[in-house]
């Protein structure tokens, strides 16, 4: 015979506290597994630097960490990282401005859609090394070259996502706005922009990562300062420690941007539209 369990406030409270404990446990297990992942990565690094290569070819993690700290405390670090950051952000902001206009054209005009899709395919298929060398040829060793090239490489990713965001807007919300007499600019600001924001953000994240890499590569060929330039200089003087340390710092700054800027914005947006 089936018995129906009695549901009392105490039982509900006990159930919810058990659920709460499980949720906390799951969160800690997740954090622990992330730590294990990092520990495994460092372990593999030690293994290769001690048993497969020699320390001149692949320095051990603690040596790279020490070198990174030395770089950070030096005045050069700030100057070079700042130079790279300014170029990346400059190129990235330029890409966003261009992409908003072109994305709009792709979303609402068939002729522009066909033309720009072909250009996008062309840019995406071009090897970034070729673009970096071309930058050196066209702009010489200057700050403008990396900014322009970064913008050129980042634009397709943001542009296609802007177009996708705009075409994916819920038409019913536009009809609602029109029926309440909202003007064109009110609909753009109130419906089109917010509803395409998640898609634009996804494109911007991807574009930012690509822009960083492009910037670094362009600096190797066509700059007199910046992280890419420092990596090249370390390579030329066979300073593997310095090369890896600059690379690690470059990745660290990328991760900081990804976690403190993009992920926070995404979390905020998803919380509202879930």
């Amino acid at each position: 015979m089936l018995t129906v369990p009695s549901v009392t406030p105490d039982a509900i409270s006990a159930l919810s506290s058990r659920e709460m404990r499980r949720a906390v446990m799951r969160r800690w297990l997740f954090r622990f597994s992330v730590l294990i992942g990092w520990a495994a990565f460092i372990g593999v690094w030690y293994f290769f630097s001690r048993l497969v290569f020699n320390p001149q070819q692949l320095p051990e993690p603690h040596v790279v960490a020490g070198e990174s700290w030395t770089l950070i405390t030096e005045r050069d670090f700030r100057t070079n990282m700042q130079a790279s950051l300014v170029r990346v952000l400059g190129g990235f902001l330029l890409a966003i401005v261009i992409s908003c206009g072109l994305g709009w054209l792709i979303a609402y005009n068939a002729w522009w859609r066909t033309l720009l899709r072909t250009i996008v395919q062309l840019v995406v298929s071009t090897p970034i090394v070729a673009l970096a060398i071309l930058t050196l040829v066209v702009f010489g060793v200057s700050s403008l070259g990396p900014v322009i090239t970064t913008a050129v490489v980042a634009t397709p990713y943001i542009m296609m996502n802007v177009a996708q965001g705009l075409t994916g807007v819920d038409r019913r919300l536009i009809v609602m706005s029109e029926s309440f007499g909202r003007t064109r600019s009110q609909i753009i600001a109130g419906v089109l922009l917010p509803s395409s924001l998640i898609s634009v953000l996804a494109g911007a994240r991807l574009a930012f990562a690509v822009a960083w890499r492009m910037e670094l590569l362009t600096e190797i060929f066509a700059a007199s300062e910046g992280v890419g330039f420092q990596i090249r200089r370390s390579f030329e003087s066979y300073d593997v420690r310095g090369m890896i340390a600059w690379t690690v710092l470059f990745i660290a700054v990328m991760l900081i941007f990804e976690n403190l800027v993009f992920r926070q914005i995404e979390r905020r947006l998803q919380g509202r539209t879930a």
Partner: protein
């Protein structure tokens, strides 16, 4: 108090890739609505009810004929309640209300809160639509339509996606707010009992978009669907609805 004059209104949708035939949604509708009345447009699926409402709201254009919705000689301000709530998911309930307001002042905020209180939602004004139930979202939709102080209120089967209990409670909320404002209302539905419970007048549309019948409902308000008088009128309207369906089925012409 708005006046809606509809003369010989037709709407024909051109063929599309997915449906390569012309579709006549409205076939010469003539009707007029004047005063602080609640008019229900009753008809089966495909009778052009939503198209009629969209044309009156100005979000669709007619193929021929004319529609005039005026208030004191100027185009009437319209408030629209849709089948689905159509709330902006990235705005809170209160900000969804304020979106349809021209001026964002303390007064408009107080008005928004007043209508949210009328539909029993003032406590959740700070929440996002995804945090509300479907019925609560539709109540926000109703409050939003009243907030613009409409001369003409358009409602397109606003309770059709709700379960019976939620629909009943929403009808009570709607009656309460409408009795407070007494705006001219055009309410589209295919539910006879809903039309009888809410309307002063029922216009019956037959498939192909032609007015088949015009039935006045003279019952005191607020109405209770379980009231014998309401049920008696409901049976009468249902009988007429059946005779319209029979007339359509056997190819008879509309009156």
């Amino acid at each position: 108090m708005a006046t809606v004059l509809i003369e010989n209104l037709t709407k024909i949708y051109p063929p599309t890739i997915t449906y390569p035939h012309r579709v006549q949604a409205l076939g010469g509708v003539n009707m007029s609505v004047t005063g602080n009345v609640f008019v229900a447009v009753l008809g089966p699926s495909g009778s052009g009810k939503t198209t009629l409402l969209n044309i009156v709201a100005g979000v669709e254009t007619p193929t021929s004929g004319s529609v005039r919705a005026v208030h004191n000689g100027v185009p009437a301000q319209v408030g629209y309640v849709f089948q689905e709530p159509r709330l902006l998911p990235w705005r809170t309930v209160l900000n969804n209300m304020l979106y349809v307001q021209d001026r964002k002042s303390d007064r408009s905020r107080r008005e928004a809160e007043f209508y949210l209180t009328m539909v029993g939602l003032n406590e959740v004004a700070h929440l996002y639509p995804s945090q509300l139930s479907a019925g609560m979202q539709q109540r926000v939709g109703i409050a939003r339509a009243f907030l613009v102080n409409p001369d003409l209120l358009l409602m397109d089967e606003p309770f059709s996606h709700m379960d019976a209990l939620t629909g009943r409670s929403l009808r009570e909320y709607l009656q309460r707010v409408w009795l407070h404002t007494r705006k001219t209302a055009l309410f589209v539905t295919h539910d006879v009992s809903e039309a009888v419970e809410l309307a002063d007048r029922i216009l019956m549309l037959r498939p192909g978009g032609v007015v088949f019948d015009d039935i006045p409902i003279d019952l005191p308000r607020p109405r209770n669907p379980d009231d014998p008088a309401v049920r008696s009128v409901e049976r009468d309207v249902l009988r007429r609805f059946d005779s319209m369906e029979a007339a359509v089925r056997f190819g008879a012409h509309a009156q």
